[in-house]
C-alpha cells in the first residue's frame, strides 16, 4: 500500500490527451445502478444529461455471486453481470469522447470474461486502441478455502459464531470484499473502465477520489468522507427521491428520476446533487434517509479502507437539489477483510390465492387451516410454514391490528422451507386443489404451481488481510 502513496504522473491515455496531470478542483461521480436490475436508462442519462467525471455501477447483492457461480459452471464464459455489456455498447463512445471513467463491480465470478466482452464491444465500436480496461481480481477464494481451514482460519459465521466446517460440503461461492486501492491502481495505469468482482459498493466511489486527489492510505478522515459519499449514492435514486418517506407525494416527476451525483473536493467535503431537468428531489431529508439505510453501529461503519464514523456527518441545504456534506471523521481500517460465502441451505416455495368479499379474511384463514391439516395429514415435515394475509398483516404483522372494516379482498400467501425437496415439491401441489375443495370466491392461480427454489444462504465471515492479494491487470481494447 505504501507505494500507492507516492504521487505518480498519470499516464496520458490516447483517448484523453487533453487530460493533464493537474488536480481537479471538483470531481463528479455519478451513480448509475443501485443494484443488478435497476433502471436500465439511468446510467445512460447520467453520462448524457450533464457533466460527470466518473460513472459508478453497483451490480452485486449478497447472493448474486452464487447465481453467477452457477452460471459459470454451466458456461465458462458466463458468471458476470451481463447487462453491463449492452450498456457499455451504448455509452462507451460518449465516455471516451467526454473522458468519463467507469468503475463497476460487474465482473462477478468471471472478471476477465467480463473485461474481454467489454474489449470486444470497444473494438466493434471502432474504439480499439482508445480504451484501456482495468481488471481487479483476487476476491474469489473458493479454491483456497481448504488451505485456509487447514491453517486454522476458521471463517466463523459473524452472526452465529458457527465454524465454516459445518457447511463446508454445501458451499457455492466464497469472495472477499476488496476495497478501493486495487481500483486506484487500475485508474493510475490509465484504465477507462475498471471492472471488479466482489468489491465494496463504497469503494467504487472512493477509488476515483483517492486517484484524483492523491489521498493517502492513512488519510482516515478523507477516506471516510469518500466512503460516505459512496454510501449515499450507491443505492441510486434512493437518495434522490425514490423510496423517500419525507413529503413523498410532492416529489416531482419520478418517471424521469435523476440519479445522484457526488461533487467532491480534495478536502473531503462534497455536495450530493443530480442533473438539471431530471425528476426526483435531493434535499437534506432524502440524504438523511439514505444515510441511515442498512446502518449498524453508526460509530463504526467498517470497510476494507477505513472505519467511518456516521455520528460526525453534517448535512446542510446548499440550494435546490443540492445538499452539502461535511465534517466527516474516520478511523484506521481494521486488520480484517469481510468474506461473503454462500451455501446451499435447503428448499423453499411460496404460493398465493386471492379470496373475495364477503368474509374474504375469514375465507383465507379457513383455507390456510385446511391446507395445514392436509400437509400434516401427508406427514410432510418442514423447518417452517409461514402464512401471511396480504391486505391484512403481510408487512406490519400484529402491529396492524385486526381489520376495522370488512376488506374487499385478501391474498393468502403461504411459504414453506426445509431440507427435503420432495416435501416442498408436494406442498406446491396442494394449493390449486383449494380452489375446488376449499372456501368459495377464490381466484388468482393462473400462474400455475409455485416454483421450488433452492435456498442459497449467506455466510459472512472475516479473514486477516495478509491472506489476500488483489491482482490488477490493465488491457488495451
Amino acid at each position: 500500500m505504501q507505494e500507492l502513496l507516492r504521487p505518480t504522473p498519470r499516464t496520458v491515455r490516447p483517448a484523453a490527451r487533453s487530460r493533464l496531470n493537474i488536480m481537479k478542483e471538483l470531481v463528479r461521480i455519478a451513480a448509475g445502478q443501485g443494484f443488478w436490475g435497476d433502471l436500465l436508462e439511468a446510467p445512460v442519462r447520467q453520462v448524457e444529461a450533464g457533466p460527470v467525471d466518473y460513472l459508478m455501477l453497483d451490480y452485486l447483492a449478497e447472493v448474486t455471486m452464487s447465481i453467477m457461480q452457477k452460471q459459470k459452471a454451466r458456461d465458462p464464459n458466463a458468471g458476470y453481470a451481463r447487462d453491463f455489456i449492452p450498456l457499455m455498447r451504448r455509452i462507451l463512445p460518449i465516455c471516451v469522447e467526454r473522458d468519463i471513467r467507469v468503475t463497476a463491480n460487474a465482473g462477478g465470478v468471471n472478471v476477465k470474461g467480463c473485461a474481454n466482452a467489454v474489449r470486444d464491444v470497444a473494438r466493434d465500436l471502432g474504439l480499439g486502441g482508445k480504451v484501456r480496461i482495468g481488471i481487479v481480481t483476487g476476491d474469489d477464494i473458493l479454491p483456497r478455502l481448504d488451505e485456509f481451514l487447514s491453517r486454522g482460519i476458521e471463517l466463523r459465521n459473524m452472526d452465529t459464531g458457527a465454524p465454516l466446517t459445518t457447511v463446508i460440503d454445501r458451499i457455492q461461492s466464497a469472495n472477499v470484499y476488496l476495497g478501493a486501492w486495487p481500483m486506484v491502481e487500475a485508474l493510475k495505469r490509465g484504465a477507462q473502465v475498471v471492472i471488479t468482482g466482489r468489491a465494496t459498493d463504497t469503494g467504487l466511489t472512493l477509488a476515483p477520489l483517492i486517484h484524483e486527489f492523491g489521498w493517502g492510505a492513512t488519510d482516515w478522515d478523507l477516506l471516510a468522507a469518500g466512503t460516505i459519499a459512496g454510501h449515499i449514492i450507491e443505492c441510486g435514486a434512493q437518495c434522490s427521491g425514490g423510496n423517500c418517506q419525507y413529503d413523498w407525494q410532492s416529489i416531482p416527476e419520478l418517471e424521469n428520476v435523476g440519479f445522484p451525483i457526488a461533487e467532491a473536493k480534495a478536502d473531503g467535503t462534497f455536495v450530493i446533487t443530480k442533473h438539471d431537468g431530471t425528476g426526483g428531489r435531493v434535499n437534506v431529508q432524502s440524504v438523511k434517509e439514505q444515510l441511515v439505510y442498512e446502518m449498524g453501529d453508526p460509530h463504526e461503519y467498517i470497510t476494507p479502507d477505513c472505519v467511518a464514523d456516521f455520528t460526525t456527518i453534517h448535512v446542510a441545504d446548499a440550494g435546490p437539489n443540492r445538499v452539502r456534506v461535511f465534517g466527516i471523521k474516520g478511523k484506521p481500517a481494521t486488520e480484517f477483510l469481510k468474506v461473503s460465502i454462500s451455501y446451499s441451505a435447503g428448499f423453499k416455495a411460496v404460493g398465493t390465492l386471492v379470496y373475495a368479499w364477503p368474509d374474504a379474511y375469514a375465507k383465507a384463514q379457513a383455507a390456510d387451516k385446511i391446507l395445514r391439516l392436509r400437509l400434516a395429514g401427508l406427514g410432510l415435515k418442514f423447518d417452517q410454514i409461514l402464512t401471511e394475509f396480504v391486505g391484512i398483516n403481510a408487512t406490519h404483522g400484529p402491529l396492524a391490528g385486526e381489520p376495522q372494516n370488512e376488506v374487499p379482498e385478501v391474498q393468502l400467501r403461504v411459504g414453506v422451507r426445509g431440507p427435503d425437496k420432495n416435501a416442498v415439491e408436494r406442498f406446491t401441489k396442494e394449493l390449486a386443489p383449494l380452489i375446488l375443495t376449499g372456501p368459495p370466491a377464490v381466484t388468482g392461480f393462473a400462474g400455475g404451481r409455485p416454483k421450488v427454489e433452492e435456498i442459497v444462504a449467506y455466510w459472512p465471515a472475516l479473514i486477516p488481510k495478509e491472506n489476500i492479494e488483489p491482482a490488477v491487470e490493465v488491457i488495451d481494447a
Binding site: 449478497e62 447472493v63 452472526d159 423510496n243 418517506q245 419525507y246 413529503d247 410532492s250 431529508q285 438523511k288 434517509e289 439514505q290 444515510l291 441511515v292 439505510y293 442498512e294 446502518m295 449498524g296 453501529d297 453508526p298 460509530h299 456516521f310 455520528t311 460526525t312 456527518i313 453534517h314 448535512v315 465534517g327 441451505a345 423453499k348 411460496v350 417452517q384 409461514l386 401471511e388 396480504v390 403481510a394 408487512t395 406490519h396 404483522g397 400484529p398 402491529l399 400467501r413 411459504g415 414453506v416 422451507r417 435456498i455 442459497v456 444462504a457 449467506y458 459472512p460
Partner: protein, 115 residues
C-alpha cells in the same frame, strides 16, 4: 397527550442478515430530544412484540437528529432463508412510525405534521 411518531419523524429501514435496522429521523432539531427521551430501545422492543424476537439496540446520531435501532432476529432468518413478504425489513420504517409517545401540550406544539 399522545402523539404518533409519523407526526414527528420520518424513517427508513433495511436489513443485515436476520437483523432489521430502522433509522428514525426527527422532522426538526427541536423534536430530536423528545425522541431520545421517549423512543427507547425497550419501548421499541415492546412495540415490535411478536416481530423482533431478539434484543433491540439503539444508537444516537444527534448530528442528523436521528436514532438508529437494530432489531435482532426479526426477519424470519433473513436474506434468502426468510419466507416473509418483507424479508428485507423495508416496511419496518413505517411500522415504527405507528408508535405513540406521550408529550406535554408545550412539546406537542413542535409537531410538524407530514408536510
Amino acid at each position: 397527550m399522545k402523539v404518533q411518531l409519523r407526526n414527528l419523524a420520518h424513517a427508513r429501514s433495511g436489513d443485515k442478515g436476520d437483523t432489521a435496522n430502522v433509522g428514525l429521523i426527527a422532522y426538526s432539531d427541536e423534536i430530536y430530544p423528545l425522541l431520545v427521551r421517549e423512543v427507547t430501545a425497550d419501548r421499541v422492543k415492546e412495540h415490535f412484540k411478536g416481530i423482533a424476537k431478539g434484543n433491540v439496540e439503539r444508537f444516537e446520531l444527534p448530528n442528523l437528529s436521528a436514532l438508529n435501532f437494530l432489531l435482532h432476529e426479526s426477519l424470519g432468518g433473513g436474506g434468502t432463508l426468510s419466507l416473509m413478504t418483507d424479508a428485507q425489513g423495508k416496511t419496518f420504517s413505517s411500522a415504527l412510525l405507528r408508535m405513540e409517545i406521550e408529550l406535554s401540550e408545550d412539546e406537542a406544539r413542535l409537531i410538524k405534521r407530514q408536510p
